[in-house]
């Protein structure tokens, strides 16, 4: 699971009003190289919940590289875009789970795939 995907995931457990962001508890993390494209990264940035990305990076112990608020004119800062590319697209959670911040319900991540399925009465 990449962090770009994590940034979009929420918990739909019944009664939960704020199931976001899902807390990442990773037991295995890998870095998988992906070709850098400045245009793609800068277009994705405005779509992100930036705070959730910072938190996700923290949970994976990789927050040292990212600013807590977006710098102005980031589209032209190649170094910054490379850092975002790395954390958003190359860092992958292989094993672990995602925890709903409100209900505590855990969604397992196995072989890089988060399982967001709920059982009937959830």
């Amino acid at each position: 699971m990449k962090l770009l995907t994590h940034n979009m995931l929420t918990s739909h457990v019944k009664g939960v009003t704020k199931g976001y962001p899902l807390i990442i508890k990773a037991t295995e993390v890998k870095v998988n190289e992906l070709e850098f494209n400045a245009q793609f990264v800068s277009r994705m940035i405005p779509k992100l919940e930036w705070n959730a990305l910072i938190q996700a990076a923290e949970w994976l112990g990789r927050s040292q590289d990212l600013p807590s608020t977006l710098i102005p004119n980031y589209e032209n800062d190649e170094e910054f875009l490379h850092k975002v590319h790395r954390i958003l697209l190359e860092v992958e959670v292989i094993e672990g789970c995602l925890q709903c911040p409100e209900s505590g319900r855990e969604f397992p991540i196995s072989k890089g795939v988060p399982n967001m399925l709920l059982i009937e009465d959830e």
């Binding site: 995907t5 995931l9 998988n32 070709e35 494209n37 245009q39 793609f40 072989k111 795939v113 967001m116």
Partner: protein, 207 residues
Amino acid sequence: MKLKELESCLQQVDGFEEPKILLEQYPTSPHIAGCMLYTIHNTFDDIQHKLVADLGCGCGVLSIGVAVLDAGLCVGFDIDKDALDIFKGNVEDFELSNIDMVQCDVCSIGSSYAKKFDTVVMNPPFGTKHNQGIDMQFLRTAISMASTAVYSLHKTSTRDHIQKKANDWKVKMEVIAELRYDLPASYKFHKKKSVDIQVDFIRFTPT
């Protein structure tokens, strides 16, 4: 990349080992997937460097094609772990890194991904196995997720019904092509060797 090259590339994608009838699982043929993706890429430029979702991705034929055509990232969504395992194997065989996947029920997603994706591609279940209406649920979700366009396959026989829904949802509908979906006997109870289903390849865009 030429259409023939794309098709031949997609022929390497492994399909379902034991397709589940109730989930209406069957692989999208390399020919149909190739034609769809080739058009989406060359005519509309909705794949390269874009964030793409594949709803009901199954073993990932469409997603693999999307990734090969250089999407920024393609995220596949499917309810079945077995299908996703095969998809994973395909991603490894092709050595692609611009793919991610989520196991979930597309019908329960709601609007959590509202406008997050540039493009949504899909070959949704048609609703023939005690799941009537599922194609429209997939479509509704897809439309909420895509900021630019949704590309989907639907039975030609449902075209008028879909047009009505598209009008209700204030979405523009364009039938790009009529395809003949040649479904080879995939389940033991299929008596005929193969069956031709008339299918529309449709593009939906916000008005």
